[in-house]
Amino acid sequence: MSIFVDENTKVVYQGLTGSQGRFYGRLNREYGTQVVAGTNPKKAGTDVDGIPVFATVAEAVQATGANVSCVFIPAPGVRDAVLDAASGGVELIVVITEGVPMHDEAWFYNELRREYPAVRLLGPNCPGLISPGRCNIGITAGHIAKAGGPVGIVSRSGTLTYQALYELKQQGIGVTTCVGIGGDPVPGTSFIDCLAAFEGDPDTHAVMMIGEIGGSGEEEAAEFIKTEMSKPVVAYIAGVTAPPGKKMGHAGAIVSGGKGTAQAKMDALRDAGAQVGLNPTAAGALMVDVVADR
């Protein structure tokens, strides 16, 4: 099994007619993802390599049964695109676009939480998610991942995610689902959302978690691991030696209250019973041992 997506997932690409949407839409389809539609109000009725283009997500859903949307719209249009997808009836919206203003993210995250509570948002500024062998939505190179299980991956960083998929594949370890939650200030899906889903997925036996400095998502995840998770977690946190940001004012420091450094995150995760690798390779080696024990 997998989390969030599987072989039956049907995806509509918002921005399929743009260069990025077209490029990754094709790659995702070649991987085996059911790429059933695209949207562009100005190009409704046309197609991209036989994939029909609709004016809105609602029309695409009605005509094709799409249940997930993937957003490649440039940043200024993301707020409207997310609303179009949520009101259009998909259950998951994956926003790949980077450079979305914080106030837009905060607005549509809360708008969805209130008006469309059943809709899951992933991103913005994320690489997407892949259930190897079943479905690949976003910008991950599918062939670097081995299908099957027993590992689930959740990550804030793109390249480190790819590295983790690749290292596990080299070791012959498969992945149920790999979710890139993105590094923006208001991620639609959190570490905890993914950890909870992996905890409930019978084919996932262990979770690899890749975090980085900033925010408190890793610390909150540690609390969840401590109280709610039975499955082993191996973590890696990037940014141990990153210098403190050139922050201005004190509001940020008051909010975080000492959280946010790589050391604080690693301490919290260790304290929660997770194993922490000091570098990506060490984390991979820890996961090899964890999987061998099970």
Binding site: M102, G215, M248
Partner: protein, 381 residues
């Protein structure tokens, strides 16, 4: 993007947030002219992107033209924690009765905006947060609703301000919220927010961080991009559009992806070295970007060896390798280079690099091996 105090105040003024009359000055003569226009006494305030300027002597009261000239000439050119003062803000002096604190920022954990208001303003607000957290009245603002009038009134009541300051504070907070939202700010902080002896509430300082991602709807923000503090290396990288942060070590780092770049800096440190920089060249890794990145690093006199750490995803190993080879044909590099190339078609990429390898250009199989090799080279030189 961090704004200077005067830029923040000018932004506040556009939203009718009361500030003291003032003017920016780049020279002593400009400072005196500004003070003559405003009327004495004035305060001469260093404009720097760093806290603690008052303790460093960067804020002085001038009672007359002679004092104004003395302070302006002392402060202009002063070094405050490594930041050279190139500009002062001349402001009408205030008779301060009380100092408060007010701010808006994002609460990342709650995914809502956070307002903080305290009757105990002044420079030590972080201490207040630690020792007496109840002295800070906090509210969460849902971005969909915005700050409502009722919510704002309750908030001001909860902060326990002096009664004569409440109406003025209420007005300022509503304007500050509008400014925070409409200007796409990550942070807006007024510390101190003052009550004057004649009962007026005003913003005496302005700490504003704007969201660089919002420039598409605020074209005038490019002026702030230009005045961000950067050292010469960061300035060169900024000109080339590279994601670069200068550090203090001797190993130049080039990696694709922010996470991998951060991780590379960590691994260099883990094996006993120190990175000279963080540089993320993004996913493409073509010859142009690679050449630009190598040029910036080559101009850093502290760099003794360079670590190129690339993980091919969609971009294949042979494309990355060709990019590196072409970049090295264009740019003459003074330091030895160690490359780690992994991921999609890594074998093909390594085969392309093979004929170019030497003492000065090495290829290592893993990130750790490469880090050890590059740190050894940096120390040997």
């Amino acid at each position: 993007m961090d704004l200077f105090e005067y830029q923040g105040k000018q932004l506040f003024a556009r939203y009718d947030i009361p500030i003291s009359p003032g003017a920016a000055a780049y020279t002593v003569d400009e400072a005196v002219a500004a003070a003559d226009g405003i009327g004495y006494p004035v305060v001469v305030k260093a404009q720097v992107h760093v806290g603690g300027r008052g303790k460093a002597g960067g804020v002085k009261l001038a009672a007359d033209v002679t004092e104004c000239r003395t302070h302006a000439s002392n402060i202009l050119g002063m070094d405050i924690k490594g930041h050279r003062v190139g500009l002062v803000w001349i402001e009408q002096a205030s008779d301060i009765a009380r100092e408060y604190y007010a701010s808006f920022t994002l609460d990342r954990s709650a995914k809502l905006h956070l307002g903080m208001l305290s009757a105990q303003g002044g420079v030590e607000i972080e201490d207040v947060a630690t020792t007496n957290p109840d002295a800070i009245a906090r509210i969460q603002v849902d971005p969909v609703d915005g700050l409502t009038a009722t919510q704002c009134e309750e908030w001001v009541s909860a902060a326990g301000l002096d009664p004569e300051a409440r109406a003025g504070t209420l007005d300022i907070l509503q304007k500050l919220w509008r400014c925070y939202e409409a200007a796409d700010a990550d942070l807006m902080e007024i510390n101190p927010l003052i009550l004057t002896t004649d009962g007026v509430v005003r913003a005496l300082d302005a700490k504003v961080t704007l969201d660089a991602n919002s420039v598409f709807r605020h074209p005038d923000y490019e002026q702030y991009e230009e005045t961000q503090p950067r050292d010469s290396r960061e300035q060169e990288a900024f000109g080339k559009g590279l994601q670069y942060v200068g550090l203090e070590g001797s190993v130049g780092v080039i990696a694709n992806g922010a996470g991998l770049a951060m991780s590379t800096v960590d691994v260099v440190n883990e094996v006993g070295g120190k990175a000279a920089n963080f540089l993320d060249i993004g996913g493409g890794a073509n010859a142009d970007v690679m050449a630009g990145a190598l040029e910036v690093i080559n101009h850093d006199p502290d760099v003794q060896a360079i670590f190129i750490n690339i993980f091919g995803g969609i971009t294949k190993g042979e494309e990355v390798a060709n990019g590196i080879v072409q970049a090295l044909e264009r740019v003459a590099i003074d330091s030895p280079i160690v490359i780690r190339l992994d991921g999609t078609n890594a074998e093909e990429g390594r085969a392309i690099l093979q004929p170019h390898l030497s003492d000065r250009l090495r290829l290592e199989p893993t990130m750790l091996d490469a880090a050890r090799a590059v740190v050894a080279l940096a120390k040997a030189k």
